[in-house]
Symmetry: C2
Subunit: 301 residues, 2 copies
């Protein structure tokens, strides 16, 4: 898994501070998460191939998370895209996009599928043999979901010496990697553990923006490899969190700690703070392993 931050600032775009958008690369998929104004330019700057994006997940319909979507879809059209595009987002997203395409008489040549969300329970949005994507219901001023990306368990690794010694036919190798016991050439049962190593642990990424402190998400994001949690404010402005339904860095760290995640990634900083290191320092009073999102930066998960 590789996460690229296209933008990680709250509110209005500035030349040096882009609103929320991220690209997650996982097992051959390239998922776009949120799409603030200017995302298509950030994608170009980060050299992401537009054609590889087939699924776009929009957390909520505030401008700093979705005003770039119509421009990106229009650009796909101008580039002659023919691959299907799936957009997952709150109810209403289809009307907003389709109306603007209609006004410009600019229908796409490719199939555009909208998966509109209104459930307040976690919902499975995407599932194949490699990865699943589930909503994480968040608490914000309008209907908002985070997204949980989970790799499927990796195959067990063949212990090639052990398997040869056990005299197992090569035709069983795939079955063994999938975890099955098999019979060897002599008809004897070979236990899987005897001829395999444990697989690489599968990774998971939870994206949680925008939200106020919402401990009810903890069971769902328990033990994830990387948690991106918004930290719009520092504790000195905690009163603004209640008003705007955002979180402080310390609250994000508290969620990370309770959920025993491996790493916490902070972002969605309010423009009022000059130095984002303050966010890390505040979070580290509660949880050790904290990273700071930064426009254009990539993280290997």
């Amino acid at each position: 898994m590789k996460l690229t931050i296209l933008g990680c600032h709250s509110a209005t775009p500035r030349w040096d501070a882009h609103p929320t958008a991220q690209v997650l690369e996982v097992k051959g998929h390239l998922f776009l998460i949120d799409c603030g104004e200017g995302t298509q330019v950030q994608l170009r700057r980060c050299k992401v191939k537009f054609a590889r994006i087939k699924h776009i997940f929009i957390s909520h319909l505030h401008g700093d998370h979705f005003f770039g979507l119509i421009g990106l879809i229009s650009t796909f059209r101008l580039l002659g895209r023919d691959a299907d595009l799936h957009v997952y987002g709150p109810k209403g997203i289809k009307e907003a996009i389709v109306l603007q395409l209609k006004l410009g008489k600019s229908w796409t040549n490719f199939s555009l599928f909208f998966h509109e969300l209104d459930s307040k329970e976690p919902q499975l949005l995407f599932d194949d043999d490699k990865v699943s994507v589930t909503t994480i219901p968040l608490k914000h001023r309008i209907y908002t979901n985070g997204f949980l990306f989970r790799e499927k368990p990796n195959e067990r690794k063949l212990d090639i010496n052990a398997v040869r010694e056990a005299n197992v036919s090569m035709t069983y190798y795939n079955k063994i990697k999938q975890g099955h016991d098999v019979l060897n050439e002599a008809g004897r049962l070979i236990k899987n553990e005897a001829v395999t190593f444990n697989p690489e642990p599968s990774k998971s990424y939870a994206f949680c923006s925008d939200t106020m402190y919402a401990p009810e998400i903890i069971p769902q994001i328990k033990n994830v490899t990387l948690l991106y949690h918004e930290a719009t404010f520092l504790e000195e402005h905690a009163h603004l969190c209640e008003l705007t339904m955002h979180s402080t860095a310390k609250q994000a760290a508290s969620i990370a700690s309770e959920a025993s995640v491996k790493t916490l990634l902070l972002g969605h900083y309010s423009g009022r703070y000059g130095n984002y290191e303050f966010f890390r320092r505040e979070a580290q009073t509660v949880f050790e392993n904290v990273a700071l999102a930064e426009d254009g930066k990539s993280f290997d998960i």
Copy 2:
């Protein structure tokens, strides 16, 4: 009059090529003309004070001319604007903006007036004692207007020596500047020309994008000081102009020549050309005084 080009490229935004948006400063007004994605960032880059923008003119509802409008309006809201905002644009623009504000539950605190256009004849949109703005109906794939900005005639200049010599009371000076003849202290009629100089010639700016070659606009833009005319293609791609309803540099120059404008400003270049000097060279085969629009560049008119 001072024109600042925020963006002058066609189609999709790139980090070094912004879609159409311009700011025209004229007699204390700051008019925004078109508003492609990323316009709010370009406004910041060019140090334009957001609060000074009270009138926005949108030529047509293709994305590269209006996808930045919703973000700009949202930012006005976040900045606590309270001044009225007037938006002039094709029918449908109100629905697109209002729907997106509604989905985000982000109503503006200031009054937002939409002036929706559907006439195919020139329409007076704005008129005060300093300046008027009129639509220029253009020919494009969807309903499109250019805009003609005209300063009102400037006041005549007082010839202070002549007016004293003629023994005219100072209470008449304003009347004289407005062009009236007056009576002097002795009751003798003083002809206006005898005590004034001609005023500064008033300036005019015609914005024409996007359009195919449309000679029917010539009477309306006759003798304007500056004509911005789109030049998406060079003559070698003239066949694409018919298909996409755009113009070549040579066609733009032919309009400028027929309309006897003072200066022609080219823009809306297709991304396929590396060197925009080709546009100037081609236009200059027909019309001498050609300038090239460039993102971030200002022109005194």
